[in-house]
Amino acid sequence: MLAEMTVAASVAALISELMHRAMVPRYMRRGLLSEDIHKTGRPKVPEPLGPAVYLPFLIASIIFYALTGEIAAIAVASSSGLAFLIGLLDDISPLGPETKPLLLILPALVLIAMYQVIPRPYLPIVGRARLYYVYWPIMLALFTVFSNAVNMMDSLNGMMPLSIYASTIPLVPVLISLGRLDALASLLILHSSLLPYCIRNKYPAKVFGGDSNSLFIGSALASISVISNTEAIFGIALIPFLVSGFSIIASVGGFKERRQIGRRPVILKDGMIKANPDPRAPISLIAIITSEKWKREPDIVREAATLSLISGTLASITFFLLTPH
């Protein structure tokens, strides 16, 4: 299966690269641009490049299925495809702050409909649990939590893709030890599809993914964790994402759109970022990192990626040392 995985991952990276090359000039010509608000002069950047990440993922998943007959890859691609469409809809015409989290439950239903869900997650300390009743609402919530957490992490140049790599690469040995090569294939295809985007999104960003990209990635990670029963391990790996998302939601008092939040979590000066000194300003991961000093955007992104690497490693250690299996 290693050869098939390599083929699918290579195809994903190649198609994603070609799509980025084709789409960026078209977006520029058509004026599909967004302001990079954290930079002096607010340069305009093509957005949303989500289709250039999701479509290669879909094509590579189909190729992997054709080569191996593993339906899990198709299930992950279909489920996260729905999240991609919800994100694309949000990019075109913003959805309400309450509607989006509810809609993001739908990808979970796709996974259930494709018989890819077994309510027996590996839980650290507990072992392999049988949660035939409580699993389902938690699983539905998992999709909306992961998708929104990844979406909220997508706020600085390269922050989301770099943190995704840092938190999920340490999970590769976990999936190998469980023998879930189908889930591993989906994860590697996701990494490959994301690579051309990551190169262009790092500081100073040449492209933005939009919600179609971040919601798809969050949903794909939720799907991969569910089919491999490693929900808790992925949850630990994504702690920096969850810290960021939860802190914002808790400090603003629920789900709110960016324009509905009166005070910004951070302030800007000459390309430097610092936590807003207003005590009533929302808390975010970026605000926590810059709570004492002014920092440059790439430095904050590097710290967030380091935090993700810590949590990813912690998740892997937790699985191998603290999870009976």
């Binding site: 710290e303 810590i310 912690l314």
Partner: protein, 77 residues
């Protein structure tokens, strides 16, 4: 390493510790005698309540430290 970086590491490590405590509690609940669906549901409810309380405590501790650092920081570039 400045206080902001240390606070972000604290937020992640304490978040992990919180999950471990909640799972340890779940383990204790699962290992206790379970008599029927209603009692099991009550145990799960207790587990979720303790997780929510622990989450609230975690958030309050992070917020308190965050405000202390933010309001007393040097603020210069």
């Amino acid at each position: 390493m400045d206080k902001g970086t240390i606070l972000s590491i604290y937020a992640v490590i304490s978040g992990w510790f919180l999950i471990m405590i909640a799972l340890l509690l779940t383990k204790l609940i699962l290992s206790s005698d379970q008599k029927g669906f209603l009692i099991s549901a009550l145990y799960v409810l207790m587990g979720l309540t303790s997780l929510t309380l622990a989450l609230a405590l975690w958030y309050m501790s992070v917020k308190k430290l965050f405000l202390r650092i933010k309001l007393s920081g040097p603020g210069g570039t």
